[in-house]
Symmetry: C2
DNA sequence: CTATTTCCTAGTAAGTCAATAGTAAAAGTA
DNA sequence: TACTTTTACTATTGACTTACTAGGAAATAG
């Protein structure tokens, strides 16, 4: 008998068709979770190998999909792997050296895009002359957060102070419009 | 023989299949540009009506697509419109009162999503326990920037000081990986 | 050789994005 | 009233993306 693995939260109310400006894809989300499992192992023994299957069940993620993600992470030099019996995956860099931006870029490409183009490439005529600065600032803000947090920070729940300040802002945990 | 109409910038090198975590959609981009045209008119006469066609040609945007965008902005109370000859669109709120976050939410929905869900709704088992805080912080950073900039700020090129600080950061205008 | 485990290619169903087409409804003009 | 202009709305389209799944090749240990 085979059990169908249900992605976590697949049942819950998804958002209405529209995906807002920031979208953390399943790849980025699953990838981060897999890496955090590898960090936990790394802290016991940096060379310890963990099997894809074990990561998948620990994080309740589809195993074949995860395999592809882990391969991308290996091609980016974040993860190392070994095939065959007794094979598996491990971190290939120190957890304090891998940022969330590294992970997102490895799995989803450049952090920010405007209509599919890089923010610095779009040009605006007349009245919208200065719109480009806005998108550049958005990307800079994104970089500031994502390049400032390492896997170790998340694993140990010790986020940088400017990030915890963001979290302490009133309403940070609530959605804006009911 | 029929000529295919090319959207502006469609020719330039688009990004490689992957769209990163932040994506400013055509709707959000065109919508901001249309609104900046309306701001320019508003500063002469707050009740002046501008035709969709005029906005479309000024900003080089497909007119029928723009119509739908302007309708959404009207339904969100940002724009007012009048039908018939001598009709058109105008801002329905003061430019200093409309933030970029308002515009993006009106056109693309909630600012941030994780796998289609709101960041506060996702739950993480075991090693990824604290990942949610990261996504909440990402959303908070996004809000901080987009809710802090008004249409007036962009039109007059007077961005808030914390935003100009972001733009002054070294490398803010360059892409990360060549 | 056999069992295990990663590596890789291909495929697919559902959905989204960026538009376009066509018609109805409102408002002004003659 | 008739006619023109302009927005409002619905439906449709083609290309693409997302989130997977299937199946086999290649490596490694015993």
């Amino acid at each position: 008998m085979s059990r169908v693995v249900q992605p976590v939260n697949a049942v819950n109310e998804r958002m209405t068709g529209n995906n807002g400006a920031v979208h953390i894809s399943a790849k980025a989300d699953y990838g981060m979770r897999a890496l955090l499992e590898l960090v936990a192992a790394y802290r016991i023994d940096p060379l310890q190998l963990i099997k894809g299957e074990a990561i998948a069940t620990a994080q309740q993620v589809p195993v074949k999909f995860l395999e592809g993600i882990l391969r991308q992470l290996r091609q980016s030099g974040i993860v190392a792997s070994q095939r065959g019996a007794e094979g598996g995956y491990r971190l290939d860099r120190d957890p304090s050296d891998v940022t969330i931006a590294d992970v997102v870029r490895a799995l989803d490409g450049p952090l920010a895009a405007v209509r599919g183009n890089r923010p610095e490439d779009v040009e605006y005529p007349g009245a919208s002359e200065h719109l480009r600065e806005v998108w550049i600032a958005v990307r800079a803000a994104m970089r500031h957060v994502l390049e400032g947090i390492s896997l170790e920070d998340v694993a140990l729940n010790k986020l940088p102070s400017d990030v915890t300040e963001l979290l302490a802002e009133p309403g940070a945990w609530q959605r804006r419009k009911p």
